[in-house]
Structures are given as structure tokens and as C-alpha cells.
């Protein structure tokens, strides 16, 4: 028991929380970039130009049907980027394919009359999307985006194994190496899992609450 108590020093806790910070930072950056890129792609997918549509479709299919780890490796080794840059790039590429689908759903949820109304008021295509359509679409996209955020947080755990980036998983592994009793390793592992669980579970509960509210708003 004292073994476990020995784990809970401020240094260890801070060490892990910094790892969590890194995890959240990378996830948040990746999601933000993905939303921008995903929006561009999904708008391209609805474009009138066949070329743009084709490019966007190939992009989405390519990243949707290959593993994330491969892109992490690819950006790190082939593109030779520094770890954080490579991580954010890989996650952005991979996640933007999913986000493009989410954005597409979000855009589809905005009634077509809104486009026509914007056009009738003399908005340009850009203005229509930025000022009229996207703000409305975003509201419907929030739950799916948060779910994607959860997925991304979980997937950042690959980064330690792939490029030795010290996010939560990596910090936990490092900590595990400096303790050797079985109980302590269990405990560290449990704490790591618990932190992930608390973060992700909270987010998923928020998603659920938000969805309920959206549904109520729609039925009311």
C-alpha cells in the first residue's frame, strides 16, 4: 500500500498532467485544423467542378481507408517534421477526412432555402457559406465534432510508440519504467486509464446532453 502512496507525489502528478496537457493540445490543434480543412474539402465535394469533386473524393477515401498510424509514421519519417508538427499534421490529414463527412452532414442539415435567400440578398458564395450556412451548420455538427475529438484524444496515445512524443501515454510509460513493483505498475496503468476515461467520458456525456438538447429544440 505504501508502494502506491509513494506514487502520488506532486512531481509524478504534475508529470502526468503535463502529458495530458500535451495530449489535449495536440488533439485540439488537430481538430481545429481538421475543421478548417474538412470544411474546405466538403465544400469542394459539393462543388460544380468535376476536378475539385474528384480531388476531394480521392482525399476522403484515401484517408478514410488507411490506418492513422501509417500517416503518423509517414509524416514523421518521410516528411521529417519535428514531432509535434508531424503529429498535428498526421492527425489533421486523417481527421479532416472524417470531419469532411461531418461537415457535409452539417451543411446538408441547413435547408436549401437558406442558400437561395442568401443569394437573393446578394451574398457571394464565400459570404453565403461563411456568414449564413456555416454558423447554422456548426450547431448541428458540434456533437459529431466532439465525438471526433474524443477519438482523437484516444488516438494520440499512438504518438509515444510512433515518435516518442511525451503525451499522456508516453509520460505514463516513462513513469512505469522508473518503478518496478507490480502493484505500482498496475496503479500507474490504472491512473493513466482513469485519466483517459474521465476526459473522454466527460466529453461523450457532453455530446449526449447536447444531442438531447438539439433534439428537444427541434421538436419544440
Amino acid at each position: 500500500m505504501s508502494d502506491i502512496a509513494a506514487l502520488f507525489t506532486w512531481v509524478n502528478i504534475r508529470f502526468l498532467l503535463q502529458g495530458l496537457g500535451m495530449t489535449l493540445l495536440i488533439s485540439a490543434l488537430a481538430i481545429l485544423c481538421s475543421v478548417v480543412l474538412g470544411t474546405v474539402i466538403s465544400v469542394m465535394r459539393t462543388s460544380n467542378s468535376r476536378v475539385l469533386r474528384g480531388v476531394a473524393t480521392v482525399y476522403v477515401e484515401m484517408f478514410k481507408n488507411t490506418p492513422l498510424l501509417l500517416w503518423i509514421m509517414f509524416t514523421f519519417f518521410v516528411a521529417q517534421l519535428p514531432p509535434i508538427g508531424a503529429a498535428v499534421l498526421a492527425f489533421t490529414l486523417f481527421t479532416s477526412a472524417s470531419v469532411a463527412e461531418i461537415v457535409r452532414g452539417g451543411l446538408a442539415s441547413v435547408p436549401f432555402g437558406q442558400y437561395e435567400a442568401a443569394k437573393s440578398q446578394g451574398f457571394s458564395t464565400m459570404q453565403t457559406y461563411l456568414l449564413i450556412i456555416l454558423p447554422q451548420a456548426l450547431r448541428n455538427m458540434v456533437p459529431a465534432l466532439l465525438s471526433q475529438f474524443v477519438t482523437t484524444i484516444k488516438d494520440t496515445s499512438y504518438l509515444w510508440g510512433a515518435m516518442a512524443l511525451q503525451e499522456l501515454m508516453g509520460r505514463g510509460m516513462i513513469l512505469m519504467n522508473s518503478y518496478n513493483s507490480t502493484v505500482q505498475i498496475f496503479a500507474i496503468f490504472g491512473i493513466m486509464a482513469l485519466i483517459y476515461f474521465v476526459v473522454c467520458f466527460t466529453l461523450s456525456q457532453i455530446v449526449r446532453a447536447y444531442q438531447r438538447r438539439l433534439k428537444e429544440a427541434r421538436t419544440a
Binding site: 481507408n65 509514421m73 505498475i185 498496475f186 483517459y196
Partner: protein, 572 residues
């Protein structure tokens, strides 16, 4: 950049092609086995998650939440790093199979749960009413139907599972990703190997996600099965046929009873003519644009749930009769025959035959429905309805029949009211004719008015007879008005024109304005000799219009109920 993909690097890679294939094979093997485990766990936990026993639901909740909210890599590490500490170690291959199987089992369990949730509870009730146990109904009736809804997300899960096997690279899993990493690490030829790995993953995942898309589109054409409120509404509509009242048997029950949604749209889909959907139909909320053009939308079906159930009933009786003929009282034989006769495919075939035969008798049904719906409708209207709608039987047809009946009824009532107003006008006219003679002796008005009022009431009674309604006499009991009739000498022709005008006017009049006029006419200040007859007429007309509207509404309601009853009656 180009030297990353220099030709000699490709050569070096392709010299290792047996290893590439082996690694690819390992990925496929792990994926396949993990998928089996994930499916098994997913179905078991998915079914448990809708269990009536609360602790079982909690267990599945915990499983799903833990598995979904903890990174896969961490779960793999439990097998890889933690279990060996407990003296329980596995080869990387089996770690992959187990960990990934368990991980995706959680996701599939959610898929199964929502699939089951999308099957209406009425199906359970129907199954129960047919003597199925909970587990029988779950595995024989609910899950087979849920599968169609489950399939698309399941294919997505399968693709994700394949992609997630790459995580094993981090524990030296020996699969494709691991091979790529180790080759890249050993030779520092990073480019080609990742491209090849990407291609190989793509080769497995792309068909799976295409399959998912295809299945989804196919399901969407039956999309009501998968979507919330509309499903609910549809099922409710279909459930107007209460489960317990049908004597149909076995799988046919599952397929067609209690909504028979599956049957309805899979088997009894006859007339593909897409008519303007009735706004009354619950599925109207879906609209056309909900999902782009569906291959076959729910509105294109010729049979509503009720009719589908009706057909199912007939089949049930047919089966029961055949069993009785074949086996008599032999219970075991009956059970055996029932099993062979009531299979899903066979039931469907019967349904199909029935559906074809049905089209032949359609017009009869329509005629009966019409007769039941709108007794007051003229034979012409019925004939017309049958001619127009005879070929089809659908919610739209029902709607059209109902509205036809309504029109016929409203025509009749209009005539009715016209007659009644004419009658009243006649009475007033009679008064008016006598009026000049009486006008001189205005001082003995009470006596005169009493006399005239008797006559007047007689005339009124004539008018009333059309209506079996007593407001007319009530209206004219007001002494001031009676006096007014007496005192108002009118030119005959003038009067005729006016009364006709009023009769015509009441047809056009809206209810509200009718009310207004009625209010006006009942006010004492309106007793102005020249106008009063008109006012009284207008009031009557307004009331008549109100009354007609109310009656029409009642008849319409009765008619619609009659329609329902008639069909239900046939079903039994």
C-alpha cells in the same frame, strides 16, 4: 523528396515480397478472428443492453463505456504488459485478436443496441401474443429484422477494425504495419514501404466502406425502419391493427403482423407509382429531399400497414386451415407442418400471391370502403371513386376516397341547406303577402301576429323537417322579429331576388363572417323594417352554414371511421 521514392528503394522492398504478403496475411487473419470475437461480444452485449434485468444492462453499459473511452493502445497494453505480470502471457497475434475483438465488441454492441431499438416494440408484443418467448422473439423475430439496419454501421466497424490492427505494430505484432516499420527502420527506405502498406490497407478497407455505403443506401430506401420519429409514427399507424386480434401464425406473424413493416415494404410492394403523398400520412414528414431520391420510398407502396396485416391474417387462416386439413387433431403433426409452412420465405411467397390476387378484387374493396365511409355519398361519386381508384389501394387512395366522400357529402348538405333556406323564405314570403292587409290594423298587432306566427311556425316546420333542428322556431320566437315580419311589406319579386341572393351567399360565406352576421341579426337594434327579413335570412343562412359545417365534419369523421372499420371488419 524524390529520392525518398528512388527506384532502388522500391527494388529493395519488392525483394521482400514474401514477407509483405505474410505480414498482410497476418493482418487479414487478425482482422478476421477479431471480427468474429467482436461480433459475438457485440451481439451478446447488444442484446443484454436491452434486457429487462437492470444489472445486465449496467454490466453492458460499463463494458461499452470503458472500452469506448480508453485508448485502444492502452487496452492492448493490458494484454501485452499487465497480464504477463500476472503470469498470463499471449503471443502478439492473439493479443491482437483478443484486444481488438473486445474493443470493437463494445462498438458493435452499441450498433446492435440501436438496431434493436429501431424495431418497434409492437413486434415484441406481437411475438408475445403469438406465444414466442423473450429469447425466441429476440433471435427469431427482432434480430433478423434488425440486421438490415445493423449492416451498414457494421461494415464501417469492420473497416475500422482492420485499420486498428495497425496498433499492433507498437507491440511487435508482426502484421503489415509492423513489417513496414521494421523494414523502414532497418533500411531507412521510408517511402515505398508506407505507400505499399497504405495500398494494402486500402484494398481491404475500401470495399468494406463501399459496402457500408451501398447497404446504407439500400436501407435508406426503407429508411423509416431506421429513423426515429417517423418510424414511430409509421409503426403506430400500422399498429392500428392490434396484435392480439390476429389469428396468423409463426413467422408470418413476425413478418406481417403488428405493422408488418418488413413485409409491407419488402413483399407487398406493388404499385411503384409515386403519387403525391397524402399530408395526413405520418411518413409525409420525411419528404422527398430528406435523403435525396430514394430508390423506393415508403410512399410508393400500395399497401398500408393495415392492409398488409389484413393480408397476413388471410394467410394465417389459410395456414391454419391447411394444418387442420393435414393433421386434424395431431398436435405434433400440426407443430411440424406449421414450421414448414410458416417459414419466412414461404410466408412471403404467399403474401406475394395474395398481393397479386388482391389487385383483382381491389375495386370491390374500394367500393365497400366507400360505402362504409360515406353513406350519404351519391352512387355517382362512388362509381367515380371506384373507377378512379380501383386499380390502386394505398394511403393516397384512402385519402382520395375520403375526400371524395367528403365532397359528395358537402354537396348534399349544400342542397339541404338551400332547400331549408328556400323553405324559410317561402314562409316569410307567405307572411309578407299577408302583411299589406294587416298593416292597416297595426294596433291589434299582437293578435294578428299570434295568428300569423302560428301559420308562420307551420311553414317553418316544413323547413325544419329537412334539418331536424329546432333553432328556427327559437329564432323566430322573438316577438320583435315576428312583428317585424308582419310589418314589412315587400315587393314579391324583390323578396325572391333577395332570398335567392341569401341562399347563394351562404354557400360562399365563411364560418366566421356567418357568425358575425348571426350576431348582428340577433341584436335588437337590427329590427329595421326594410332590412329585417334579410337579416333573419342571413342569420338563418349563417347558422345553416355553421350547422352544415359541423355536420359535414361529423359525417367526415364517421365516414373515415367507417372506412377503417370496414377494412378492419374484413380483416377478421
Amino acid at each position: 523528396m524524390l529520392d525518398i521514392f528512388a527506384p532502388y528503394k522500391w527494388e529493395a522492398l519488392f525483394e521482400r515480397w514474401p514477407d509483405i504478403l505474410a505480414a498482410f496475411g497476418t493482418t487479414v487473419g487478425i482482422s478476421a478472428l477479431a471480427l468474429v470475437i467482436a461480433l459475438a461480444l457485440g451481439i451478446v452485449f447488444g442484446v443484454l443492453s436491452v434486457s429487462r434485468i437492470a444489472p445486465l444492462r449496467w454490466v453492458t453499459r460499463v463494458y461499452v463505456e470503458v472500452v469506448q473511452n480508453v485508448p485502444l493502445l492502452l487496452q492492448v497494453f493490458v494484454f501485452y504488459a499487465i497480464f504477463p505480470l500476472l503470469g498470463f502471457s499471449l503471443a502478439a497475434f492473439w493479443i491482437g485478436v483478443l484486444a481488438i475483438g473486445i474493443y470493437h465488441g463494445g462498438y458493435i454492441s452499441e450498433v446492435v443496441r440501436s438496431g434493436i431499438g429501431s424495431i418497434h416494440r409492437g413486434q415484441f408484443e406481437a411475438a408475445k401474443s403469438q406465444g414466442f418467448s423473450y429469447w425466441q422473439s429476440m433471435f427469431v423475430i427482432i434480430l433478423p429484422q434488425a440486421i438490415r439496419i445493423i449492416m451498414p454501421p457494421l461494415a464501417v466497424q469492420a473497416a475500422n477494425l482492420v485499420k486498428n490492427t495497425s496498433v499492433l505494430a507498437l507491440i511487435a505484432g508482426g502484421e503489415l504495419m509492423y513489417f513496414s516499420n521494421s523494414f523502414a527502420g532497418a533500411t531507412s527506405y521510408y517511402g515505398p514501404v508506407y505507400v505499399v502498406a497504405a495500398l494494402l490497407y486500402f484494398v481491404i478497407c475500401f470495399p468494406l466502406s463501399r459496402l457500408a455505403l451501398y447497404l446504407e443506401r439500400r436501407t435508406r430506401s426503407h429508411r423509416h425502419l431506421a429513423t426515429g420519429d417517423a418510424t414511430e409514427a409509421l409503426a403506430e399507424d400500422a399498429l392500428e391493427v392490434t396484435p392480439g386480434t390476429h389469428d396468423i401464425t409463426g413467422r408470418a406473424a413476425a413478418d406481417a403482423l403488428a405493422g408488418g413493416v418488413g413485409t409491407m415494404f419488402e413483399t407487398v410492394d406493388i404499385a411503384p407509382a409515386r403519387q403525391a403523398p397524402s399530408p395526413r400520412h405520418p411518413l409525409h414528414v420525411l419528404g422527398d429531399e430528406a435523403d435525396g431520391p430514394a430508390e423506393r420510398g415508403p410512399m410508393e407502396q400500395a399497401f398500408t400497414g393495415r392492409v398488409a396485416a389484413e393480408i397476413a391474417d388471410e394467410i394465417g387462416r389459410e395456414i391454419a386451415q391447411e394444418i387442420a386439413e393435414e393433421c386434424g387433431d395431431d398436435e405434433a403433426c400440426a407443430a411440424r407442418v406449421m414450421r414448414t409452412k410458416a417459414g419466412r420465405v414461404k410466408a412471403h411467397r404467399r403474401l406475394e400471391r395474395r398481393a397479386v390476387a388482391r389487385r383483382g378484387v381491389e375495386s370491390t374493396v374500394a367500393g365497400k370502403a366507400e360505402a362504409g365511409a360515406a353513406a350519404p355519398a351519391s352512387p355517382d361519386a362512388v362509381a367515380e371513386g371506384v373507377r378512379d381508384l380501383g386499380a390502386r389501394r394505398s394511403p393516397e387512395a384512402d385519402e382520395a376516397l375520403a375526400s371524395r366522400a367528403e365532397t359528395a357529402t358537402s354537396d348534399r348538405i349544400t342542397r339541404d341547406v338551400r332547400k331549408r333556406v328556400d323553405g324559410a323564405a317561402g314562409a316569410l314570403e307567405a307572411d309578407a303577402q299577408r302583411a299589406p292587409a294587416e298593416a292597416a290594423g297595426a294596433e291589434d298587432m299582437p293578435a294578428a301576429s299570434r295568428r300569423r306566427s302560428d301559420e308562420h311556425d307551420e311553414a317553418e316546420l316544413g323547413a325544419e323537417a329537412f334539418l331536424d333542428n329546432d333553432y328556427v322556431s327559437g329564432e323566430l320566437d322573438a316577438p320583435a322579429e315576428r312583428a317585424a315580419h308582419v310589418r314589412a311589406p315587400h315587393d314579391e319579386a324583390d323578396f325572391d331576388a333577395e332570398s335567392e341572393d341569401a341562399a347563394a351567399r351562404h354557400d360562399r360565406r365563411e364560418r366566421r363572417s356567418g357568425d358575425e352576421e348571426a350576431r348582428e341579426s340577433s341584436g335588437p337594434e337590427t329590427v329595421v323594417p326594410e332590412d329585417v327579413d334579410m337579416e333573419a335570412l342571413a342569420g338563418m343562412a349563417a347558422r345553416a352554414a355553421d350547422d352544415a359545417a359541423a355536420r359535414m365534419e361529423r359525417l367526415r369523421r364517421e365516414g373515415l371511421e367507417g372506412l377503417g372499420k370496414d377494412k378492419r371488419g374484413e380483416g377478421k
